[in-house]
Every structure is written in structure tokens, then in C-alpha cells.
């Protein structure tokens, strides 16, 4: 030992010193930690292993609880690992399992250390290295250490063996080929009578069975035995998990198992086991009426229990049953609905799910009404939870459960007015989606949109902006159903729209455009009764064309629905309003807003002449112009009146790529070209104009006007608006100051007492939850447009399976003898060889004798075991025995020593493969 290292070790802080120092915090935590890290970096380089290990331990502490990177110490940890002392090893293993991951560079060096410790005589060292392996195993480690783990699987030290069993799961996961080596020993351990080993093995199988239950069907008899015999709750729970996976695959097995499970459910006092039984029954045995009834009885006990845990689990179990036996939920509806007002948010959400599960097309209206009322009174988080689940339930499968779309649309409107509502985006989507899909609901949709748009208070709520944008779109697209389009114009151009973000502003302007065109069209082109002289003159020439249009249903609708007369005078006012409202927006910094405002104003400019003329005196010259303007109106109207339909998600893929277009072309150059062009920030109030030189003068004029004029203008507009829609404004006590803090759309209802509330709810829903009543639909369900592919999302590629497949494939190879490694020629002579039990017995001995030759010591004991098993099972029915024996034989023949095994397996395959028909065998019959 060298001097400095000694001094290091003499003065070294121990872990305790470190923790004490950290807690005293004389110099602040961060400073102290960085100082300590500095020391550690020095100490860890020491040649003295004690010093090194202490440093490593300290580093573990800092890494674990203060999250400091310890990857620099990876190699040092390996050095400590090589120490002969147990205490050092322990620290090193701890550090390694804490910090190593698949990409740690020194991972390659650890294999030999692990191998050495796995074969150590000290059981604790073996256990340490097993533990470590379970954490850090990668493909290489798993492959290289498979033989050692295999040996440990039959170690006579129970302590080591049970750990090896647990670790084998990780090895299988990483390196599926190890199944061929280890699987049989694993299965042997199933017959162990030591409860600890058994619990470990069953744990492994329950994890394995989760991934691919079918492969483990042949082991069902063993599991059954464990289920019946087990005294330990831990083991029973795991076995139940396995059966929950296996039973749905094999009805005969389910028949056999259901009775013991019910017994267990009746007998057990442990809640955890009881719950597992209940869950197993409701998930996998739902067709066994009596078992389900028993489980439901237990669930009810859970539900009324004081313990919130049991209540939660009870609700959870109910929600599993709900998918198959809805009556169970209806039976317990009081409890479920009362839980909606439970103090625990998790319980509330669980019960909400249940309530939503009860929704059907008969009661959706009642339940939604109750829930929306409830959402009004609950806290924001849960309120949105409720709204979200109503939205998703109702829109499921293209609005499957909605019959009365008028009702649903008004419900959407109502929901968006709930003060805490943050589901704007979803409501927006549904508004538009319904508009596109359901033709018959459009008039109602327009009415709802009108109510939303016209209320100036809603504009102040940023969560509602998305809803408003949908409403604006609806109003523009389906304006022909509106009773009074002029009202829409005013709503869309009201002064407070300045509160909207630019993207939605743009939608407003575009919708205003559509509405305007519609108004003009009805006024001039169709020559409504009050249209001006010049328009009526031109009307003649277009008459034939509008007849053609009349074929279009939308236009036909439009004629019937518009009741408010549109006079020339109102058009003139309208044009003025547009100019007034939009001219400030010409200077907007958002491209979209500016562009659209410009479009609309340009259009107004074109039209204005005619509108003005037609109201005034008649001249030949203007008549000619009027004709032109009418032509323009017609053109634009035609462009807008084309109906939009839903688009399939996969539509894009169906568009053929035109020749000469390379989609994969690298657009990297584009970035360098566009890099120096800065995008104008859309939502900040910027200083300069991003526009071209020549426009600057006119623009800056506008800017000045805007700056000075905007406030007066908007106040005057606002005053006017207020005059008209007085009922939506507060009584103006505070003069006419424009304040942005409008009252929320809906004053939150007074927070009533929760319990009263709950009882109300129970009362309210009591009748609505019973689906007995035949609904008396006043009208038939409207047609909902669906696409051919039913809007399915393209099925996600199964990526996960590939790896599992190799694992379960390996397992299947061993348990069934996989068919695909079979040469087809040899399959032909199979069936006759396995039909008779006698022949088979003969073959078994044949196989075993072969084994005796190959792997000497091992198999003799195995054979003895086999015989004893054979005796045990003699009393069972013959075919069951046959199965088991076949199983046994296959396992045996395929899992021996890794290297020799492969070639041998090939040779034996023809012998050991059972006839294809018995792949799903008779279990336990």
C-alpha cells in the first residue's frame, strides 16, 4: 500500500459521515454534494479496495437519492467486484444493479465475474450475482450464463434454487433459446413441495402466461394440482392468474377449474385472495352463471365496505363485469352513483366509468343530463372528466347510441357553456363531424351555433375559442338553414372578436364571407321579393341557371328556411358593417387574418357599387355593371355551396403519386434558403410590417388610422352591439369602459351539499338506468354518413409480438413439438405411431434409453421420477394420462444439454411429435 492511499483511507469519510454532513447542511446541499463527489472521484481511483468500496457506496447513495450520474464509476465497480471479500462484493453488486444498463460499455467484462460467483460455494454470493443478473441481463449475458443458471435450477440449496427460478424469467425474456435448455427443469420445480420454490415457479409461469397463454396449456394439470393443494395465499393468487389466462382458451379446463375457484372464494378469509378469485371469475369465467353470482355477491360486500380500497376494487371488478353482464351494474347502481360524490377522486372516476358503461341508446339522454348537472357542481378536474367521458361515449362508433341528434347537438352547446369546461377541442371536432355526417341535424346545429356566437361573454373564455371556431364554421357552411343570416353577420363581426387568437379570427372572417355571399345571393341573384330593380332585371337571365341549382338540395333548403327578409337596405348596412369591422384587420400581423380580411373587403368593393345603385335610381350603365356583380356573386356562391363530406383517414394513401414527383426528396436545402426569413410572430403586437416595399406607405397609413381609430371604432361598435343585444350584457353601471373581464358564461351554480346532491342523483337516475322502457322516438334516427372503412384507424403494426413470439415459439416447441420445424415428409408416418398408448409407452422407453446414453448421470434420476409420476396418475382417465405422458416425453427429449441437444432433437422429432389433432388435448377430464 502506498502512502497517499493510506492517508486517503485514514481520512476517508464513511457513508455515515456523508449522510450526517448532508443533513447538517453547513454549506448548502449542492455545494456539499459536489465536494463529496470530488472526494469520491479521487478515492475511487485508490488501489485499496476498502477505500474504493466505501467510495462506491457513497456514490450509490448520491446517485440513488440525489440522482447524480454514476456512470463514470462503472469500471471501478467491476474492480471492487473482483474483491474476494463479501462486503466489497455486496457493495459492488449493489452499485452495478443500480447503474448498469444495456449500453454500459463495460458490460462485456462482467460475464466472467458473474460466472465465477454463480458457481461459488457461498450461497449468498450466488444470490447476489443472480440478483444482479436479473437486473442487467442482456442478450449476451443471458446466452453466456444460461448453463450456470440451468445448473442452479436444481441446486440443493433451496435459497439459491428459488432465486434461480425467479431469475430464469429474465433470462428467457432476453434470450428465448434458453427455454430449450432450462424449461424442463423449471417444470420439474412445479412438482416441488417446498412452498417457497413453488411460489417462485408459479410466479414465473404467471408472468410467462400473461404474454402467451396458449403455450402453457399442457401444464394445466400441474397448475390444477397446485390450486387444489395450495395452502399459501401467495401461491393461490398466482395460480389463479394463470388460470384466468388459460381458461378462455379451453372450455373443458374452465369447466373443471370453476368449482375449486368458487370453493376458494367461499372459504378464504384473505381479502387479497378473495379479490383475485372474484377477478378471475369475472374476467374469464363470465359464462358460468353460478360462479358469477357468487362473485357478484362478494363484490357487493366490497362495495359496502368502509375500507376505500375494497370499495375501489369492488367498483373496478364491477367495471370488468359490466362488459358482459350489465345487469350486475344495474343491480348495484345506487352504490355506483353514490360513489360519484365520494371524496376520493379515484373512486369517483371509477364510478363514472361504470355509469358510462350503463349508457345505452335508451337512456343516454337522461344519464347525460344528470351528469352534466353534476359536472356543473363538481371541481374542475372531475367536471372535465365527466364531460370527456360523455363526449367519448356518445361519439363511440360514429355516434352509435345517439338517436336524437338535435338533442345531442344542444347538449354539446350546453356542455361548452359549463364554466370549467376545457374540452373545447373535442366539442369542436364533434360539432364539425356531426355537421358533415348528419344532414338532418344541420338546422339545429346552426341554431346552437347562433346561440354560442351571439353571446359576447363567451369570447372571453379561452377554453371556448375552439368551440366558437366550430360554431363560426358551422354558421358559414350551413348558413342556408339560418332564420336570420344578418344576425350571424353581426355576431361574426362583433367587436369582441378581437379577443380571439388569429387562427380562429381567420375562421370568423371566412365564415362572415360565406354568410355575406349567401345574403347577397338570396337578395340579388334569386331576386327575392324585395330585391332591387336592377337585380330583378338580371334575374331573368339567370333564372334557368338557378333552376338547375334548385336541384341541389342545399339551395332548396335555403329557400325554405330563410324567413327574415333581406332588403337592399339591410345589404347596404351589412356592407358597411363589414367594412367597418374589417378595415382595421387589413393591418393585422397574422397572414391568414390579413389575407382573408383583404379577400372579403375586395369582394365588398366589387359588390358595393351594385348595392348602392340598386337602392338608388336606375341607369343603363349601372345595370350592365350590376349584371357583372351578380355574376360574381353567383360564382362565389357556387364555390361555397359545394357540400363538404367526411374524409376517411386513409384517403391520403389512396391518392396516386403523380409521375415525376419524388416524395422522399431531401428538403434540407429548403431550410438553408428559408432560414433567414423570419416568420412574423403572429400573436405579439409587432412593430414592423413584414410586407413588401410598395405597400408600406398605404399600410402605414392604415396603421396610424388603426392605432388612433381602433379604440373609438370599437367602442362605438360595441355600443351599437350592446344596444341590439342588450340582454347578453350586464347592466352598464360602469359607463362604457370596455373591460375584458366579462362574467363567465355560466355562473357556477352554488356548491350544494354533496350528499343532498348524491341522493338527488340517485333519485334522478333511478328510473333512467332501467332500460326497460321502450323509447318513443318522435322521429326516426337520421342517416349518419359513414365511410366504407368505418373510419377505422389503420391497424397498428404488431411490433411487440415479434420478440415474444420467439419466446413462446420456443416454449411451444418444447411443450407441443412445433409443427414448423417438422419436415413434412416425416409427418405422414406420425399418427399411427401415437394412437395407441402401448406403442407410445414403448417409444418412451426407447427415447429414455437413448437419453441414458447421451447424458449420463442426469437422466436416471429423471426416469425414476417419471415412473413415480406415472403411478400417481394411473388412476386418472386414460386419455389424460396419455396426454401427460406425451407432454413429459416431449419436454424430456427436447430439453437436455444445449449443444448436444440440437442435433439430437432433429433426429428424434418424428418420434416425439403427437398427432396434430391432439395439440389441444383433453385436460383433466
Amino acid at each position: 500500500m502506498s502512502g497517499p492511499s493510506l492517508m486517503d483511507s485514514l481520512f476517508q469519510r464513511t457513508l455515515e459521515d456523508l449522510i450526517k454532513g448532508l443533513r447538517q447542511q453547513l454549506i448548502g446541499e449542492q455545494a456539499f454534494i459536489s465536494k463529496a463527489l470530488e472526494e469520491i472521484r479521487k478515492e475511487i481511483k485508490s488501489t485499496d479496495l476498502s477505500t474504493k468500496s466505501t467510495a462506491l457506496l457513497k456514490l450509490c447513495y448520491l446517485s440513488n437519492l440525489h440522482f447524480h450520474d454514476m456512470s463514470f464509476a462503472a469500471f471501478h465497480a467491476l474492480e471492487v467486484l473482483s474483491s474476494p471479500r463479501f462486503s466489497h462484493k455486496k457493495i459492488a453488486y449493489h452499485a452495478i444493479s443500480l447503474s448498469f444498463h444495456d449500453s454500459t460499455p463495460v458490460l462485456l467484462l462482467i460475464t466472467n465475474h458473474l460466472r465465477k460467483d454463480l458457481t461459488s460455494t457461498n450461497e449468498f454470493e450466488v444470490s447476489l450475482s443472480l440478483q444482479c443478473l436479473s437486473r442487467i441481463a442482456n442478450v449476451d449475458l443471458a446466452r453466456d450464463l444460461t448453463p450456470e443458471v440451468f445448473t442452479l435450477l436444481s441446486s440443493n440449496k433451496l435459497y439459491v434454487r428459488k432465486r434461480a427460478v425467479a431469475v430464469v424469467l429474465r433470462v428467457f425474456e432476453k434470450y428465448p433459446d434458453s427455454v430449450r435448455v432450462c424449461f424442463k427443469r423449471l417444470v420439474e420445480n412445479l412438482e416441488n413441495y417446498d412452498p417457497q420454490i413453488l411460489s417462485a415457479v408459479v410466479g414465473v409461469f404467471s408472468e410467462l402466461a400473461c404474454k402467451d397463454p396458449r403455450s402453457y396449456l399442457p401444464l394445466a394439470p400441474e397448475f390444477y394440482k397446485i390450486l387444489v393443494d395450495s395452502k399459501s395465499n401467495w401461491i393461490s393468487i398466482k395460480v389463479l392468474k394463470i388460470f384466468a389466462k388459460l381458461a378462455p382458451l379451453e372450455p373443458r379446463l374452465a369447466n373443471r377449474v370453476v368449482e375449486p375457484i368458487c370453493d376458494l372464494m367461499r372459504k378464504t378469509g384473505a381479502k387479497s385472495l378473495l379479490f383475485e378469485c372474484v377477478r378471475t371469475v369475472v374476467t374469464s369465467f363470465s359464462e358460468y352463471e353460478s360462479a358469477v353470482r357468487l362473485a357478484v355477491e362478494k363484490i357487493r360486500e366490497f362495495l359496502v365496505d368502509e375500507d376505500p380500497n375494497l370499495k375501489y376494487l369492488g367498483l373496478h371488478a364491477l367495471s370488468i363485469v359490466a362488459s358482459k353482464h350489465l345487469w350486475v351494474v344495474s343491480e348495484n347502481k345506487e352504490v355506483v352513483i353514490k360513489s360519484l360524490s365520494d371524496p376520493d377522486p379515484n373512486i369517483k372516476i371509477e364510478s363514472l366509468r361504470l355509469v358510462m358503461a350503463m349508457v345505452s341508446e335508451h337512456n343516454v339522454a337522461e344519464i347525460s343530463k344528470v351528469l352534466v348537472n353534476y359536472a356543473l357542481k363538481s371541481d374542475p378536474l372531475f367536471c372535465n372528466e365527466i364531460l370527456g367521458s360523455i363526449l367519448s361515449t356518445c361519439s363511440r362508433n360514429v355516434y352509435e347510441i345517439i338517436v336524437d341528434f338535435d338533442w345531442y347537438v344542444s347538449l354539446l352547446g350546453e356542455m361548452s357553456r359549463i364554466p370549467h369546461c376545457q374540452m373545447g377541442e373535442e366539442i369542436e371536432n364533434q360539432f364539425i363531424d356531426i355537421g358533415l355526417r348528419v344532414k338532418d341535424v344541420r338546422p339545429e346545429l346552426v341554431r346552437v351555433a347562433r346561440d354560442l356566437l351571439i353571446d359576447p361573454a363567451l369570447l372571453g373564455n379561452s377554453f371556448l375559442h375552439r368551440v366558437l371556431s366550430a360554431a363560426a364554421w358551422v354558421s358559414g357552411e350551413y348558413v342556408e338553414f339560418s332564420r336570420n343570416p344578418l344576425e350571424f353577420m353581426e355576431a361574426l363581426l362583433q367587436p369582441r372578436t378581437s379577443l380571439l387568437p388569429p387562427s380562429i379570427m381567420a375562421i370568423y372572417i371566412q365564415s362572415a364571407f360565406k354568410v355575406l355571399v349567401f345574403c347577397l345571393h338570396t337578395c340579388f341573384v334569386r331576386g327575392g321579393s324585395t330585391a332591387g330593380v336592377s337585380a330583378s332585371a338580371s334575374y331573368e337571365s339567370f333564372d334557368d341557371l338557378s333552376v338547375e341549382n334548385g336541384a341541389d338540395s342545399t339551395v332548396a333548403h335555403g329557400q325554405t328556411c330563410t324567413s327574415a327578409p333581406i332588403t337592399n337596405e339591410s345589404i347596404v348596412n351589412l356592407l358597411k358593417l363589414v367594412e367597418l369591422a374589417l378595415s382595421p384587420l387589413l393591418g393585422s400581423h397574422d397572414v391568414e387574418v390579413q389575407e382573408r380580411a383583404r379577400n372579403l373587403l375586395g369582394f365588398v368593393d366589387l359588390i358595393k357599387l351594385e348595392a348602392l345603385n340598386s337602392s338608388g335610381q336606375e341607369e343603363n350603365d349601372s345595370e350592365r355593371k350590376g349584371v357583372e356583380a351578380t355574376k360574381i356573386i353567383r360564382l362565389v356562391h357556387d364555390a361555397f355551396s359545394k357540400e363538404l363530406g367526411p374524409v376517411s383517414l386513409t384517403a391520403q394513401g389512396k391518392v396516386p403519386v403523380p409521375d415525376g414527383l419524388t416524395l422522399n426528396e431531401n428538403l434540407g436545402d429548403l431550410e438553408t434558403i428559408c432560414g433567414d426569413i423570419e416568420l412574423p410572430s403572429s400573436n405579439t403586437f409587432s412593430f414592423g410590417y413584414p410586407s413588401e416595399e410598395k405597400d408600406v406607405s398605404s399600410f402605414s397609413n392604415l396603421q396610424i388610422k388603426e392605432d388612433s381609430g381602433q379604440s373609438n371604432e370599437s367602442t362605438s361598435l360595441l355600443a351599437e352591439h350592446r344596444k341590439r343585444h342588450g340582454l347578453y350584457y350586464l347592466p352598464s353601471g360602469k359607463s362604457e369602459v370596455i373591460s375584458n373581464d366579462y362574467p363567465p358564461a355560466n355562473d357556477p351554480a352554488l356548491q350544494g351539499d354533496n350528499n343532498d346532491n348524491a341522493s338527488d342523483l340517485v333519485k334522478l337516475t333511478a328510473e333512467s338506468l332501467v332500460p326497460k322502457r321502450k323509447p318513443n322516438h318522435s322521429k326516426p334516427r337520421p342517416v349518419v354518413v359513414k365511410l366504407d372503412e368505418v373510419d377505422e384507424k389503420p391497424v397498428a403494426v404488431k411490433q411487440l409480438e415479434s420478440r415474444d413470439d420467439s419466446l413462446s415459439g420456443a416454449v411451444r416447441d418444447i411443450l407441443f413439438g412445433s409443427e414448423d420445424i417438422l419436415p413434412t415428409s416425416s409427418r405422414s408416418n406420425l399418427p399411427n405411431s401415437n394412437r395407441k398408448g402401448k406403442k407410445k409407452q414403448h417409444m418412451i422407453t426407447q427415447v429414455e434409453s437413448k437419453e441414458n446414453v447421451v447424458d449420463d448421470g442426469n437422466s436416471s434420476s429423471r426416469r425414476r421420477k417419471d415412473h413415480s409420476h406415472g403411478k400417481e396418475r394411473r388412476h386418472r382417465k386414460k386419455n389424460a394420462e396419455e396426454r401427460n405422458e406425451t407432454d413429459r416425453k416431449e419436454k424430456e427429449s427436447s430439453s437436455n444439454h444445449p449443444r448436444r441437444h440440437k442435433s439430437r432433437q432433429r433426429a428424434e422429432e418424428p418420434l416425439k411429435v403427437p398427432p396434430q389433432t391432439s395439440v389441444i388435448p383433453d385436460f383433466l377430464l
Binding site: M1, G3, L6, S9, L10, F11, L15, E16, I19, R23, S50, L57, N64, L65, F67, D69, R85, F86, S87, K90, I91, H94, H101, D102, N122, F124, Q131, S134, R135, K162, R163, A166, V167, L169, R170, Q196, S199, A200, G203, V204, E207, C210, S232, W234, I237, K241, K271, S272, F275, E276, R279, P308, N309, K311, Y312, L313, P343, D344, N346, I347
Partner: protein, 197 residues
Amino acid sequence: MIHFVLLISRQGKVRLTKWYSAYSQKERTKVIRELSGLILTRGPKLCNFVEWRGLRVVYKRYASLYFCMCIDEDDNELEILEIIHHYVEVLDRYFGSVCELDLIYNFHKAYFILDELLIAGELQEPSKRTVARLVAAQDSLVETAKEQTSSITNIIAQAANFTIKMLHKGYGPWGSNALHLESLLLVDVCTRLVDQH
């Protein structure tokens, strides 16, 4: 299976973390931040389960410590509660009415005990007595190993350490300044002795 085990104090300080599934260091901090926000804010008398990223976290509070375990959706929550209780009982038996400070100062011991209990995310040892016995056996292994290999060096080092500490504090067992010199000498002797070994 259990994906990870966390011990968090009521103030949000992490006392123990054990990961059975792969999480990078970054994810770990994020997980802990998320979960302590989720769990510490829950009032008493609520249920002990939290849904989180498609998994389920079972937690239980003992005095000022929250014991959390994260499991798969279809694992048995009540069983995990039992495992947590089991762990607490084992700790209690080992430290003799365990408190948070025990876990702070013996953080590695808490790990070693957990390692006896769980392996690869599965319960391994349901018997409290066996766990206690195994941990004790390993502790004694550590102790004897220490004594065997480095008894002399250790004694000398301890003596030197002691002397130096005295020197640092400014008062010696000898009570006078004159003896400072002597103790310095002792350090020197010790150093040389250790070198020889």
C-alpha cells in the same frame, strides 16, 4: 410484476428507490417527481391505489414515510399492500421499531433487506423470520470477513484515526498541548506500521 419500489418522505424527499424495470436516470427523476406530486397530495382515508401511465401504483403511509410500489394493471393490489406491510415488519424487526432515521443512515441495509424480499419484481420470501435470519447471516459474513483480513491494519488505522480526530478537535485525551507532539508521533508510527503490513 413490480416495476419499482419507492420510499418517499412526507416532505417529498426520496429515501429509497429500487427499479426492477429499465428506467433511465432521466426517467427515474421524472417518475419520482410525478408520483410524489400524485401521492403526497392525496388525503388520508382515501384508497391506496393510483392509476398512472397505464400502470397502477399502490402506496401506503407509515408514520412519515410513503411506501410505493408500481405494478401492472392486472396484478393484485391487495397482495402488494400485504408485501409493503411485510417489508415494513421486516424492517421493524431488523432495526427494532424502525423509524425514518434508521432508513436514512442505513440506506444500504434497507436495500439489502428489500433484495431478500423481492427478486426480479416478484415476492421471494414470505417468511419474516427467514428474512431476518438471512440478513443476519450476511451481516455476520461481512463482519467476519472484515475482521479476518484486516484486523491489524484496522486496529492501527482506527488508532491513528482516533488520534487525528483528537488533534483536530484541539483537545487530546492527554489534556495538554505538549502531548500534541506525542500524538503526531503516534500517527507517524501507525503509518509506518501499516506500511509494513
